[in-house]
Amino acid sequence: MLRDAWLVAGKDLRIEVRSKVALGQVAPFAFVVVLLFGLALGPAVGRGSVLSAAAPGLFWVAVLLATVLAVQRSFAVEAADGAADGLRLSGLDPAGVFLGKAAAVAGQLLVLELFLAAAVSLVYDRHLSALVVLAASCVTATIGLVAAGVLYGVVSMGARQRETLLPLLFFPLVAPILLGATKLWGEALAGAPGRGSGWLELLGAFAVAYCAIGVVAFGPLLEEA
């Protein structure tokens, strides 16, 4: 299963490296979102301003929006040239395909989050502190996000209106991640990380639950999508 996951992740990441869609479109899109929030809530920056106070939440909303694009991209790749049929007939373990696609999207998102955090810090004038907590919440939240995203990505793959369906399915589902990750970031940036402990565990529980569902349910969903 893990070997299959490795293969699929490698394939997806190679496609991204060669096509540069994630780099050329998804990442700039996330940055545009950051700018839009600035236009909507600015122009004041610095301590006490709306932008600075809202920075953790804005960062995570931007990540959520980018996740939808990345997941859509991940399945658009399979839609072209009957690639999905190839994947079905390849004999790869469906659980491995799920983990591989999720890992590829997660890898892209984590890199994106790194740059996005820097952008938020600069543009909203918010100093980043407690980097370990920030990183831990990024990793845990991202695993949950991509597990739910890839699961719903394959559900909506067969739909004609998949571009509109995926966000409708995805955003309400990951509302707990938005809450948890924003809280963790808010506490960390306020210089009091870990006070509201339990959030990291909640993010972890979400990630585990949806990875488990994905491993079990991806096979039947892929077959019929």
């Binding site: 559900v155 707990p176 569902i213």
Partner: protein, 281 residues
């Protein structure tokens, strides 16, 4: 497969009609008792009359999602796999979504005069709002085209995915709120209002009446889903029969309508036009 498999006529069975009638009588009685017979509350005044509507609607919402979840599980379980469970899950969550919308609307109408706001980020309210969009998404998944069994399995998995999220959403919103301030909104049923006498009876009646309405809506939605499945299956046979009649040449032409009627009658689907009014009832 039970009720819907052999739909008799356009409007369902006598049992269904009695069920609908009972629901109607119950609702009318609740309205009469709630608006005229019961006294106004000492603190809430006439606003208390929403007590006979809002909790019962929310109650139906829980039942509807519970049944949708259980029937999705029963569909996924290989031993009990039957399309009937899929139809039941679809019918129940459809009714559930309607009642979630009503819960939000009636709650908001109640909240404005009692709390002073249309909306508050109370855990229960926030969870209900997210539940509404989660299950709207589930209904959208049900519409994705595909083979009948494939659709059913996909829908059942989607129902499971959504249902697992509900407790996580609830707890996350609870924590999210409690870090700021403790929830300020007491439960109107148990916290603020002492229910007794005619009020208690009216409250109870409202639960019974709306549950009957739910059962009636559910049965009709189930019946329509069964009819739609039947039409999907029989429609193909009908088309094949027509095509054969055509291929039979000119002499067979006279038989064509008769043959089509026969298939239509066997399917119990009167004609496509009759489905419209049926859906409204």
């Amino acid at each position: 497969m039970s009720p819907g498999a052999g739909p008799g006529g356009g409007r369902g069975t006598a049992v269904l009609r009695v069920l609908g009638l009972l629901g109607l009588v119950g609702v009318v009685a609740t309205v009469w008792l709630g608006l005229w017979v019961t006294p106004p509350d000492r603190f809430m005044g006439n606003l208390v009359r929403l007590l006979y509507l809002h909790p019962a609607i929310a109650w139906v919402m829980y039942i509807a999602y519970g049944i949708a979840f259980l029937s999705s599980l029963l569909y996924l379980w290989p031993r009990t796999r039957a399309l009937a469970w899929d139809r039941l899950a679809g019918a129940s969550s459809e009714v559930g979504v309607v009642f979630t919308g009503l819960t939000l609307v009636t709650g908001s109408i109640w909240g404005r005069p009692t709390w002073g706001v249309w909306w508050t980020w109370d855990p229960l309210l926030t969870t209900t709002a997210l539940l509404f969009v989660l299950y709207l998404g589930y209904l959208a998944v049900r519409q994705i085209p595909g083979e009948r069994e494939a659709r059913a399995r996909r829908s059942a998995i989607a129902a499971l995915v959504a249902f697992v999220d509900v407790p996580i959403v609830y707890f996350s919103v609870l924590w999210w709120r409690s870090l700021h301030q403790p929830p300020t909104v007491d439960d109107p049923v148990t916290g603020k209002t002492y229910v007794h006498g005619s009020m208690a009876w009216t409250l109870l009646l409202s639960f019974v009446a709306l549950t009957l309405v739910y059962a009636w809506l559910l049965a009709h939605r189930y019946r329509l889903a069964a009819l739609a499945d039947l039409e999907e299956g029989e429609g193909l046979e009908l088309a094949i029969a027509e095509r054969r009649a055509e291929a039979g040449g000119v002499p067979a032409r006279g038989e064509e309508p008769a043959g089509a009627d026969l298939v239509g009658a066997a399917a119990g689907v009167p004609d496509p036009g009759a489905r419209g009014p049926g859906a409204g009832r």
